[in-house]
Amino acid sequence: MTAFVIRRLIESVVVLFAMSLIVFVGVYAIGNPVDILINPQAEPLERERAIAALGLDRPLWEQYVTFLRGAVTGDLGRSFVHATPALGLIVEKMPATLELAFVAMLLAVVLGIPLGLWAGLKPDALSGRAIMAGSILGFSLPTFWVGLMLIMVFSVMLGWLPSNGRGPTVDVLGIGVSFLTVDGWRHLILPATNLALFKLALLIRLTRAGTREALLQDYVKFARAKGLPQRRVIGVHVLRNILIPIVTVAGLELGSVIAFAIVTESVFAWPGMGKLLIDSINLLDRPVIVAYLLVIVAIFITINLVVDVLYSALDPRVRLTESRG
């Protein structure tokens, strides 16, 4: 088990290193780094000074070393707009995005698994077909438009929920969170629903397919032949088997939820990293874009690592082969 974790850790570092190289090539070699990293509105003299300070007059490999050193020490340049370290800006906005993403994923899991289970148990019933039709719609609906419609119905027409912002936050260990107050939830619920919709559709499909497959397995038939009540056959024998892959997928999808938050945050003016990214792209605040990119890659790699380790801890088959080998 320990050997497995160490091996996966080394792999992750290698991928992170490779991604830093790609980002570097993208920003420094393909794009013009002077345009990307130095404020175009700067005075010519200041420009010269900045080029020298960033080492853009140095050979490419030396620039990469500088860039890497900056990335490792957390120095990814200063925002043109805010004149503060770009990484600091991202980190400051991260809790808002993470909170939104976690609540969205939770919604998707809590609703998606039971609905998918139901649709898998009753594939021909009206209810099962309705759930599947809903999930096809969930895949087809563009996230941003659903967001607009949620605002239209719940904020404008009904006036039940606020349409933008995060509302007041409560500090927990120095990090502001919304989920501890009623007002926070009122702000959270629409964007989280919006963000959850696509993953909800995905989890319904996955659970349904897994359920239908599990029902055909001999062990389910045998569990019935043992005279177990239906709720135990479904709740223990079927669910246990499909839950491991589903939880794995849900974990892996967390990264994509964080990335998709870009759209939802823009619609609901949610003050997270995604909205910061869009604002930065519009304002040509490139150091922030680079910092966002590296942070999101690091998040993806961390999630993959954690999910892999958890998966091997959950599945007895994987767990035991690993400990033996």
Binding site: D218, K221, F222, A225, L228, P229, V236, P316, L320
Partner: protein
């Protein structure tokens, strides 16, 4: 044992005119179409047929576990005087795994891969008898010992993939016998195993069944398996029983040409070096069953008479011996 003696007269299981059909878009598949047989307490019945003959569906019908869209559409299944085809779901569940249990074919797939063995065993007890975890665990331990599994305490804490195929089938058999049922339906439980392990398990099951007075329906395509095991044999073809009798009667003087063909295609019965005799042709497609005798297109004895449905011809004085054929082989009495 006078009470038992009285019960022996009444068969444990009476299947009468059972029809299990599968409606599909292309038509109705008559997987089981008018099957009748009976079984006394402690008796071992071999249900023999090729794949698709309806022998497994017959077994699942008794347990009420036919997969939809399949359904028992006619006939009756009486177990210990109780009609099973109309029994409410909860009452049927209380019989399953308790009075009637089942062992299925593939030992690699019968046990749930993500649950420990102890859980899979104790849940079978607790579903029928609320004796508490500790006592259930004790019984599970004894059950493993009975099927010849050494160091059961360690084995109980293992997962199925840590067992070999033979071991898994032993565990499955232990689970099937754990509540001391009156009837076990075994659907080719040894087919997927090595020949040596097959032999061991057959022997153990036979011993266990005799000791506990458990009746067995042993479903198989392999006549050599029933030869050493069963008291009586029913041969199925295309959803019907075409011949029945004691094991000696059916194997030594078959009356139906299909049974004859099956016996001839068993390697051990042929002289060394001689060509294996095969039944010509293929089993009929499930949707394209011919009128009359389903075997007539492959039968060397078939003539115009066979276009009409042959009745089951019993033997005077022996209602359990008979063949469904217009032209039974003459060496029948």
């Amino acid at each position: 044992m006078s009470a038992t003696a009285a019960m022996r007269d009444e068969p444990l299981l009476v299947v009468d005119g059972l029809c299990t059909h599968f409606p599909t878009r292309a038509g109705v598949v008559k997987a089981v179409d008018g099957v009748s047989f009976s079984l006394r307490r402690g008796e071992i019945l071999g249900l023999v047929g090729e794949s698709g003959s309806g022998k497994s569906i017959t077994g699942y019908s008794i347990l009420g576990l036919v997969d939809p869209p399949g359904r028992v559409v006619a006939g009756s299944i009486r177990y210990d005087g109780v009609e099973l085809t109309t029994l409410p779901g909860e009452a049927m569940r209380r019989l399953r795994g308790n009075r009637i249990s089942m062992v299925v074919q593939d030992p690699m797939a019968t046990l749930n891969p993500v649950l420990r063995i102890d859980r899979q065993m104790t849940e079978t007890i607790l579903a029928h008898d609320d004796v508490g975890e500790a006592l259930a665990l004790e019984r599970a331990r004894d059950a493993l010992l009975r099927v010849g599994i050494a160091s059961p305490d360690e084995r109980l804490r293992a997962y199925p993939h840590q067992f070999s195929g033979g071991m898994r089938q032993r565990v499955a058999i232990a689970i099937a016998l754990i509540n001391r049922p009156d009837l076990v339906i075994a659907d080719e439980p040894t087919t997927a195993l090595d020949v040596t392990i097959q032999g061991q398990i057959l022997h153990e099951v036979q011993t266990l069944a005799r000791e506990t007075g458990t009746a067995l329906v042993w479903i198989t395509h392999d006549l050599t398996v029933v030869a050493g095991l069963a008291d009586r044999v029913c041969v199925m073809y295309a959803g019907r029983i075409v011949e029945q009798g004691t094991t000696a009667q059916v194997l030594e003087s078959p009356a139906h040409p299909y049974t004859r063909g099956l016996l001839d295609s068993v390697p051990a019965r042929n002289a060394r070096g001689a060509r294996l005799r095969q039944i010509p042709g293929m089993p009929p497609a499930p949707l394209g069953l011919p009128d009359g005798c389903a075997f007539r297109e492959r039968c060397p004895r078939a003539d115009e008479a066979c276009v009409a449905d042959p009745p089951m011809r019993g033997t005077p004085g022996d209602p359990d011996r008979g063949a469904r054929c217009h032209h039974p082989l003459d060496d029948a009495p």
